[in-house]
């Protein structure tokens, strides 16, 4: 991969004065926002061609995703795994890697957490909960970290490898949940044994949204600090800009790649933990619902900026939360959300070609004389 200008913004110099900074920053906000609107517009034309009303679609989305306190709860509960899944894409993207197999780490992290919950069922939560969290993060980290290791030490394309490993992870989960880890009492939907109440993750007081949301947002902030404020993040951005130059400079490129991919995987594993401990109460096939894939789109929409991931994830969670109502009211298939995501994704990638084309955003133009 040579063309990194699209996915990793250059290290900015702050010598152009504050207005120039504002101009440059607003390009990074306005262009993706415009691309999002273009994606919506294309999707609206698509709906019109089917004889469906885009106005009804978007107003239903607003009502079911953001209109009431209840819909906000629904949206925010779905936001938590999306935050982690998007970080699993955004962190490796700093090094110029396109890792798209976060789904695998979510699924296996969930299974690991479920298994630990059974293994330590007799112990107090003080031991069992850290074991569940640690095992989910460890398994997720090893899974995606090995994608990074394969990339660096063997030159294996990380995009293909991570997606293949997601398929393998889902097969492994099915094997474990229907075989060795299956609770004989789960008849219709094979699951691990249900977690004890003391091991479940509760809601944020007064919110009726589980703690995963708060931890997800915290991780986004920490990831931003890591990338923007530490030497590791700086080194990763250098390596993402030009891998060979970074190596010549003596940066530990291999450790950076393995470290960032493993960290992304560990966070995706954490998403699996929260899905099991806060939502499903046991590990089962519900873990593989495509959060990992929606996370890819979120990361690209946020231009791999961890702070921007938070609002974008909430927006896309709202679309997912409202899809049930839209299916019933407008008689649309469930794949409608996928079509919308496809249009938005393509639009956002096409907008990469526009950076630097508009003079308004050039810092030089705003430099005080």
């Amino acid at each position: 991969m040579t063309d990194q200008t699209a996915s990793t913004p250059p290290v900015t110099s702050s010598t152009n004065g504050s207005l120039g900074m504002v101009a440059r920053r607003s390009e990074a906000v306005l262009l993706p926002f415009a691309a999002l609107l273009v994606g919506f517009a294309v999707f609206s034309v698509f709906l019109l061609l089917q004889g469906k009303s885009p106005i009804e679609f978007f107003s239903l989305t607003y009502r079911a995703g953001f209109g009431t306190a209840f819909s906000w709860q629904n949206t925010l509960s779905r936001t938590a795994p999306l935050l982690f899944a998007a970080l699993c894409v955004a962190l490796p993207a700093r090094l110029g890697l396109v890792v798209i197999g976060g789904e695998g780490a979510i699924v296996l992290g969930g299974v690991a957490a479920g298994a630990m919950g059974i293994l330590f069922a007799g112990n107090a939560g003080l031991i069992a909960i850290p074991m569940m969290v640690a095992s989910a993060m460890l398994v997720g980290g090893l899974w995606i970290g090995s994608v990074g290791a394969l990339r660096y030490y063997r030159g294996v394309n990380e995009t293909i490898a991570s997606l293949l490993m997601a398929y393998i992870a889902i097969a492994l989960m099915n094997h474990l949940v229907e075989g060795p880890l299956r609770d004989p009492a789960s008849l219709n939907k094979p699951s691990t044994a249900p977690l004890a109440d003391s091991l479940r993750v509760g809601d944020i007081p007064g919110w009726e949204v589980h703690w995963g949301l708060a931890f997800g947002m915290l991780c986004c902030v920490l990831a931003w600090v890591l990338i923007d404020k530490t030497t590791w993040g700086f080194a990763a951005r250098i390596a993402g800009g030009n891998m060979r130059a970074a190596q010549v400079q003596g940066l530990p490129v291999g450790r950076l790649i393995v470290g960032f991919t493993a960290l992304g995987g560990a966070l995706a594993g954490l998403a699996g933990y929260f899905e099991v401990a806060a939502v499903h109460g046991a590990a089962n096939a519900s873990l593989a619902t495509g959060y990992g894939y929606t996370g890819i789109l979120i990361a690209f929409l946020a231009r791999h900026n961890p702070l921007a991931i938070i609002p974008v994830a909430i927006l896309l969670a709202g679309f997912e939360a409202s899809s049930g109502l839209i299916q019933r009211r407008m008689d649309l298939p469930d794949a409608t959300t996928l079509v919308l995501q496809g249009f938005v994704f393509i639009s956002i990638l096409m907008s990469d070609t526009l950076y630097g084309r508009f003079k308004v955003f050039a810092p030089e133009r705003w430099r005080s004389a």
Binding site: R154, T159, L164, L297
Partner: protein, 306 residues
Amino acid sequence: MEDLGLWVIPLAILGGAIRVSTPFLFVSLGEVLTERSGRINLGLEGTLVFGAMSAYAIAYLTGSPWLGVLAAAAGGAFFGLIHGLICSLPRVNDIAVGIAMMILGMGLAFYFGKPYVQPVAPDLPSISFGWWSDIPQVKAALRVNVLFLIGAVLAFAMWWMFRATKVGLIIRVVGDSTDAARAMGLRPTLIRTLATAAGGAFAGVGGAYLSLFYPGSWNEGISSGQGLMAVALVIFARWNPIACFGAALLFGGAGALGPTLQSVGFSEGYYLFFAAPYVLTLGVLIATSSPTRAMTGAPGELSITK
């Protein structure tokens, strides 16, 4: 009927290899064509699924499976064309566009395919090469679909095209060096876009095979990554169409492993055998990639190997 014992397994894997390999073959031939021109299309998984849906729908509506194949090829060419045009824009990441096209292709296929999950569409014809045998398993294994034969012929034709024809040479020059191609007066962007569109058409036909012959029905889990594996297989086959044919047979055999063992009564580790093709693909990728050397046979302009 005589008891074949465990001979059933290799026989079924051989039959499975022939039956399962065809979509791998078409997708990988399409990807070879695209990558030889210097562009990667990771979205062929979406094209494969969309091809499967459109072939099934058209075959059901018209009663002709061949019209279905044609529709799948046209749909695939359209997806390839869109991918090619988007990637022609400066500074657009072709790998990411492939992922987006994969999501869009699957989304559109599931969206329009919903009404066709129940109806039954006519199958593509197949030819029995097992007439000499009395054993039903042998007969079943050697019932070869016409598309498999067409794919095999295409593999050799494409090999010859790259080796000995002007068109093949033009594609190779464009794939190896944009500058050299420009110096020769060629139009690299146009040629790449056309090669990507043609590659998409191949992948669409692969999808038609899935829905119109084996497994021979349309549902949302019909491909589950076969298009992606076929893209990985191209690296293994070193961008050589004939090697793609061999690799497709190998992958088909691996894909047949799960259902075969299940049919003879192995239920233990059933899901693990279903993971066999993915594990094999990953293993093959690891074995054939290299961190230091440029890969032999790789087109010079290909972003995946740089």
